[in-house]
């Protein structure tokens, strides 16, 4: 029957064997297995996560039948952690599923070292007090933390890690690394070997645009005192020059050259983002530095020396209209330059490792190669401690959000979600839990929310009355659809963090289930 891997085929096409391997090695701890937690884990179990540990001290109640798919009638009065864990296990028997019947709050208070064993902790439906404690514990042990909350028609997802470095960011649109306006000798030589004025129409319409642009931009530069087209007018003229070289209207290679002509005007050297990374203080390497920063330090040395201001060449080229042999030759020229750059970086890596007293072979060739290929796309994500965000949010941002129509609901929900937690620790229940106390709860919640805003240094009156009463109307309800949405995001972020691919969400995601105008808040 099926090969073991074919059930993961559709996701291997996204994150590859390496990503899958990382997932299969990861161990996840889930706090609270209501619908938000259950749905989060469901998506990870299906994807083949290594192990899950479900922590929940509660028993299954009748109300769970109305929003949690991972329990059924037979589960009533049994341990929720046990029931959810059993149903999750059904989804994928290669996952190791465990449960602990204990309240997450108690575990956080009494046994912080417990969390040390996990790759990632996902805290769902946890109140502020416990989150702040858990966040500090995870920081201390360097464990990744995702906080997920569903509440009525709102909710939030927030990641907390000291630092998350990504090499394989897989950006959607990223300019190819073609070096059209500063070709290295081999590329230049190859371009020179091709006659743009060939009389063979087949060759003429199958000369790759890379060659056309390298040659014509040189022609342009020599006629313009060594400068590349830069003004709008010059760029237009450059396109006209390209057009004049066509011998018939259906030459796709020249059309491609005109479309790509802006690439000859791109500035040389590294992007501002990369500049920031190579100048980060972590580049000052010592024996305890992460491999990532060793590689960045090597990259910096390369840029300052062999690279002549450029990062290592990526080495791949996009498909383009071309004779097969021209295309294959071009591929080889780009690939061998990339290989040479890799060897240079490898030497820097070894040198640095030796300098800090580590084994020079400790970083694998494949790792260095992958780093070189993605050197232009590196990403460093850093997250504040949640407590720091609460105590000193970025005031200018808060004020901007409060007055921006697109953000006012999201920031309102942000404040109200915090207010709900305070209300709950004061009164030991959610605001609006009982129909009879709606009015009172609304004004109590308002007082708390206004207080939070005032503490931030903002005007409390900017909060909409309708949103406050809406929050009370929710009364702590956890709707299945909202939980599935929030759980979907939490699991997606978990996958990105564990595979170290793609770019995780930064800031706090605030779900707006009213009109779906959800927002990211950077506080």
């Amino acid at each position: 029957m099926a090969e073991p891997k074919s059930k993961y085929d559709r996701q291997l096409r996204i994150w590859g064997e390496q990503g899958q391997e990382a997932l299969e090695k990861a161990s996840i701890c889930l706090l609270n297995c209501g619908p938000t937690g259950s749905e989060t884990l469901k998506n990870l179990v299906l994807g083949g996560i290594g192990s899950i540990t479900v922590i929940d001290g509660s028993k299954v109640e009748e109300g769970d039948m109305g929003n949690n798919f991972m329990v059924d009638l037979q589960s009533i009065a049994q341990s929720k952690a046990k029931c959810v864990c059993a149903f999750l296990q059904e989804l994928n028997d290669s996952v190791r599923a465990k449960f602990v019947e204990e309240s997450p709050e108690a575990l956080i208070d009494t046994n912080p070292a417990f969390f040390q064993q996990f790759t990632l902790v996902i805290a769902t439906q946890l109140l502020e007090n416990s989150i702040l404690k858990l966040d500090k514990i995870c920081r201390q042990y360097n464990i990744m933390l995702i906080v997920a909350r569903s509440y009525g028609l709102t909710g939030l997802v927030r990641i907390s890690i000291k630092e998350h470095d990504v090499v394989d960011t897989k950006p959607d649109h990223f300019l190819d690394d073609l070096r059209l306006n500063n070709p290295w000798p081999e590329l230049k030589q190859f371009a020179e070997s091709i006659d743009l004025y060939t009389t063979d129409p087949v060759v003429h319409k199958h000369t790759p645009y890379v060659v056309i642009l390298v040659k014509i931009v040189e022609e342009w530069a020599s006629a313009h005192g060594g400068k590349f087209p830069s003004t709008r007018e010059e760029k237009r003229e450059f396109k006209e020059l390209l057009k004049s070289k066509m011998i018939s209207l259906d030459e796709d290679n020249y059309k491609e050259a005109m479309e790509a002509s802006f690439k000859v005007s791109l500035p040389c050297g590294i992007s501002p983002q990369l500049h920031q990374i190579v100048n980060d203080s972590s580049v000052e390497i010592d024996s305890s530095s992460y491999n990532f920063w060793v590689l960045v330090a090597a990259l910096k040395e390369f840029i300052e020396n062999e690279g002549g201001g450029e990062p290592p060449l990526e080495g791949s080229i996009p498909d383009m209209t071309s004779l097969t042999e021209y295309y294959i030759s071009l591929q080889k020229i780009y690939q061998s330059k990339a290989d040479a750059d890799f060897l240079a970086i490898e030497q820097h890596v070894k040198g640095i490792l030796k300098r800090i007293g580590r084994d020079p072979d400790t970083i694998l060739k494949t790792t260095i190669k992958n780093f070189c290929k993605n050197a232009r796309k590196l990403m460093v994500c850093r997250y504040r401690l949640i407590e720091d965000e609460f105590n000193s949010p970025i005031l200018t941002e808060v004020q901007k959000y409060l007055t921006d129509e697109d953000y006012s609901v999201a920031v309102g929900f942000y404040v109200l979600l915090r207010a709900v937690d305070r209300f709950t620790s004061n009164y030991n229940r959610f605001p609006g839990l009982f129909d009879g106390e709606m009015d009172e709860d609304t004004s109590r919640l308002k007082t708390i929310a206004v207080g939070i805003l005032n503490d931030m240094g903002c005007n409390g009156s900017s909060l909409s009355e309708d949103l406050i009463s809406e929050m009370c109307r929710y009364g702590g309800a956890e709707l299945h659809t909202v939980a599935a949405y929030i759980g979907g995001i939490a699991s997606q972020e978990a996958i990105k963090l564990i595979t170290k691919q793609f770019i995780p969400l930064t800031g706090t995601f605030i779900f707006n289930g009213i009109d779906h105008k959800s927002q990211l808040l950077f506080l």
Binding site: P201, V202, K205, D250
Partner: protein
């Protein structure tokens, strides 16, 4: 809308006893657009169109082209068109049913015409395609070959190409390949 749902439920119960409407065929937006294309066809004189499944199936039809000039003068070439329900979002599938010695049509009937694949756009129509096909016979080109041998002969020896085309159309061998008569 729950109130409407309730009303509808009552209507449904009532309707179950009455005569339902006759089952009706749904028409896709693609069929409608094709209907427009077909009703506005303005074909070259040398071209005829036919609908093997009758007047109400426009999605499958045949076009025969009799070039009025060039190498292929006197031949008749039959093409089948298969139009998808999401036309014109997607180009029709066109195949040449007549075996032909042609640089841009292979022996299986695949046609190398840019607007049938990479350059298809929803603003184009059936008329454009038929004119494009017609053009392939008056102006075969050796730069985008699908039949490599025919293209090479056209490029290197147009006289020989002409002889080969005549031989193929009259029914006979060109190299190892037999072509049934199509004149």
């Amino acid at each position: 809308m729950i109130r409407l749902f309730k009303v509808k439920e009552k209507q449904r119960e009532a309707a179950e006893n009455a005569n339902g409407r006759a089952p009706v065929k749904k028409q896709s937006a693609g069929e409608l657009r094709l209907h427009k294309d077909i009703s506005e066809l303005n074909l070259p004189k040398s071209t005829t169109i036919s609908f093997p499944n009758g007047k109400d199936d426009l999605m499958n039809f045949e076009v025969s082209i009799r070039p009025d000039e060039g190498y292929y003068l006197g031949g008749t070439f039959l093409f089948t068109f298969q139009v998808s329900p999401i036309y014109p979002h997607e180009a029709p599938k066109v195949k040449c049913k007549t075996k032909v010695y042609h640089p841009n049509i292979d022996l299986e009937g695949n046609v190398c015409l840019n607007i049938l694949r990479e350059d298809w756009k929803p603003v184009l129509n059936i008329n454009t395609i038929i004119y494009g096909l017609h053009h392939l016979f008056t102006q075969p080109n050796h730069e985008d070959p699908l039949n490599h041998d025919a293209a090479a002969v056209l490029r290197d020896n147009p006289k020989m190409f002409e002889v080969n085309v005549r031989r193929a159309m009259a029914g006979g061998y060109v190299g190892q390949t037999y072509f049934p008569r199509c004149m």
